[in-house]
């Protein structure tokens, strides 16, 4: 692979990471910590929403993030022909 392609591949990779880590930050530090009070005024069943994010929702989201990451990267590797 040429140097130019490599740069493009890396740039797309970093963009994916920034987006995924943005979501990672939002559900844990955002919903679970910074805005927990505001979200706690919303209730879903027996859960206050902020509390739910801190103890349940963030973990589910983390799992989804890794699954999405694996898919995106496998596709990206194929696109740039760097897959194994």
């Amino acid at each position: 692979m040429s140097g130019k392609d490599l740069k493009k591949y890396w740039k797309e990779n970093v963009t994916y990471l920034l987006i995924l880590l943005g979501v990672w930050f939002l559900v844990s530090y955002g919903a679970g910590i910074l805005f927990v009070k505001q979200l706690d005024s919303i209730r879903i069943g027996g859960f206050k929403l902020g509390f739910w994010f801190a103890q349940q929702g963030s973990i589910y989201t983390f799992l989804v993030l890794i699954v999405v990451y694996v898919r995106l990267m496998n596709k990206l590797d194929k696109k740039y022909d760097v897959n194994e």
């Binding site: 880590l21 530090y29 859960f47 890794i66």
Partner: protein
């Protein structure tokens, strides 16, 4: 059958299983010893990683901690799983492509410096030893309470088992026993959780039961908030820590766990970069099962505990109460001599102290579950402790035989000689870990809590910038690591050892506790690294090429020595 016979039977069977697997999967080369030959299936590796990651603390202590801390306990849940996301996205694939055996290998080569390698070895050894001592203590507690043997004897039995499969099987033996241990520990965690969830909320899924209603009609969490407040504690769902402190502690735990050497090394055992990514996904799935159940268990046990003991006569406490008193994990002091148990926040009136470690272990008894469930929990606690201990022992042995002996002292050592050295180092490490388990130095518990912050403030930027910033060079990384760790250690030592009296939120810098200060140390480290790197010459061309190559998956090959 009695609890003790059930426990003996289940623990005995699980131990026989681990030994059987160890014999079946003996290592015959250094590659098998360090990275299981590099041919482990991603799903299996995911299970093994999950068992490796979830220590005695996750299994035994975490739900108990959350139980007492309520919302504040979220720092552990988000910290230890969120760190895993960082590991999967920012580290695992690239370190897999790098393709050496250990983290010090990466640091040594990326920063083209033998000193950097040795510093990394020392840090890896320090983190691993403090951690392993904690695991051995967990083994001791389980043995002493459930099989009523002496704690020391319990530790020795645990040591013999680990000795057998870690020394014989190396990473290969450890990997396959960890798969078995994961199955044992998750089964042992879920069975009582499902029971208690069904008993208390009528919903067998603990994650849903937590948001469900109790038999008296109200929501469980509302009821618990009320019970807590009646006794003077903060409402369960709101906690007492300040927002900035919760933020800092969560971040320190996340950044610190992402740098734990025994977990990183697991990604060297799969054949391809693609497999490293997918096994990270599997591992988090297996971890999440326990981590989303723990907060539910925490709330159930807390409600149950308060209802069982609060203002009840001491003479009518159930059998488990006195058993845990004997194990010195529950203490009752009838201050006002009324024969009733006053369990309240105010220390002048409170008569009951409960160790956080027993909340999970005593849960089946508090909830009056069948005897075999209690035996199962004992086996699960042992599986969690042993699997993590084995992973750490392997890091210790490879740090000594590979990073020190082979790469720093005697590069001409033969494959056979290195394998023998690795086994001897593993054996010595088991003995030392056992010693620390029997005679835990007072500072261990304190240090473990801070190991994450120290790891975050020292290693994390060096590894991340090593991959994502080509311009980061040796002087930059060294300066960053030193400022980061000195700042963090000084802050912790000041508040924890020199001036204990000042350890209150008013005196903390920006309201950040010593537990969370590693986050700030990490930021300082990263800034120093970036600035110093740009003021000094770029890293050698060879290193820049190496960085280019780890960013691309193709051509990973199996992990190799040189």
């Amino acid at each position: 059958m009695s609890v003790q016979i059930w426990t003996l039977l289940i623990v005995g069977l699980s131990f026989a299983l681990y030994i059987g697997i160890a014999i079946w999967s003996r290592a015959s080369s250094t590659k098998e010893f360090y990275v299981a030959g590099g041919g482990v299936n991603p799903l299996m590796n995911g299970m093994a990683t999950a068992a490796d990651w979830m220590s005695a603390a996750s299994f035994i202590s975490m739900a108990g901690l959350i139980s007492f801390m309520g919302y504040d306990g979220s720092v552990y849940l988000m910290g230890w799983t969120g760190g895993y996301v960082l590991l999967a996205l920012l580290l695992a694939p690239y370190l897999r492509k790098f393709g050496k055996f250990t983290v010090p290998d990466f640091i040594g080569e990326r920063y083209y410096s033998q000193t950097a390698r040795i510093v990394a070895v020392v840090c890896a050894l320090f983190v691993s030893f403090t951690y392993v001592a904690g695991q051995m203590r967990g083994v001791g507690i389980v043995f002493s309470r459930f099989l009523e043997v002496d704690i020391s004897l319990g530790v020795i039995i645990g040591m013999c088992i680990v000795f057998f499969y870690a020394v014989l099987g190396g990473m290969k033996g450890i990997t396959y026993t960890q798969v078995a241990q994961y199955v044992v520990l998750i089964f042992a965690y879920m069975v009582p959780a499902i029971f208690i969830s069904f008993l208390m909320t009528g919903n067998p899924i603990p994650q849903l039961g937590l948001g469900g209603t109790t038999t008296d009609g109200g929501y469980l969490l509302d009821k618990l908030d009320g019970l807590n407040q009646e006794l003077g504690f903060a409402a369960y769902t709101s906690g007492t820590k300040s927002m900035i402190d919760v933020f800092a502690i969560t971040a320190a735990l996340m950044l610190g766990t992402a740098g734990l050497p025994h977990v990183i090394v697991r990604f060297f055992t799969v054949p391809k970069v693609k497999d490293a990514r997918s096994s990270a996904g599997w591992a988090l799935l297996f971890i999440a099962i326990l981590y989303t159940t723990a907060p539910a268990v925490a709330a159930f046990v807390r409600t149950n505990l308060i209802e069982t003991v609060s203002n009840q006569p001491y003479s009518q406490m159930p059998e488990w109460f006195s058993k845990w008193e004997e194990a010195k994990l529950i203490a009752f002091d009838d201050k006002n001599k009324d024969g009733l148990i006053q369990y309240v926040k105010d220390p002048a009136v409170n008569e009951l102290t409960v160790d956080k470690d027993i909340m999970v272990l005593a849960n089946p008894e508090i909830s009056k579950l069948p005897n075999w469930v209690i035996g199962l929990v004992a086996a699960g606690g042992l599986a969690a402790a042993l699997s993590t201990a084995a992973g750490l022992l392997l890091v210790i042995s490879s740090a000594i035989s590979h990073d020190l002996l082979k790469n720093a002292i005697n590069p001409n050592i033969s494959e056979k000689g290195e394998l023998r050295a690795a086994r001897i180092a593993a054996a010595a490490a088991v003995v030392m870990a056992g010693y620390l388990g029997v005679n835990p130095p007072g500072f261990v518990a304190e240090v473990v809590a801070f190991a994450f912050g120290l790891a975050a403030a020292s290693f994390f930027p060096a590894i991340i910038l090593g991959i994502f910033d080509k311009r980061t060079n040796m002087p930059g990384a060294m300066a960053g690591m030193i400022t980061g760790i000195v700042f963090t250690a000084a802050y912790i030592i000041y508040f924890k050892f020199i001036n204990k009296a000042a350890n209150t939120p008013d005196h903390w810098f920006m309201g950040i506790s010593p537990e969370g200060i590693g986050t700030l140390g990490m930021v300082i480290n990263a800034v120093v690294t970036l600035v110093v790197s740009r003021m000094t010459p770029a890293p050698p061309l060879k290193v820049q090429e190496m960085i280019e190559s780890i960013r691309v998956p193709r051509g990973a090959g199996k992990a190799h020595a040189h």
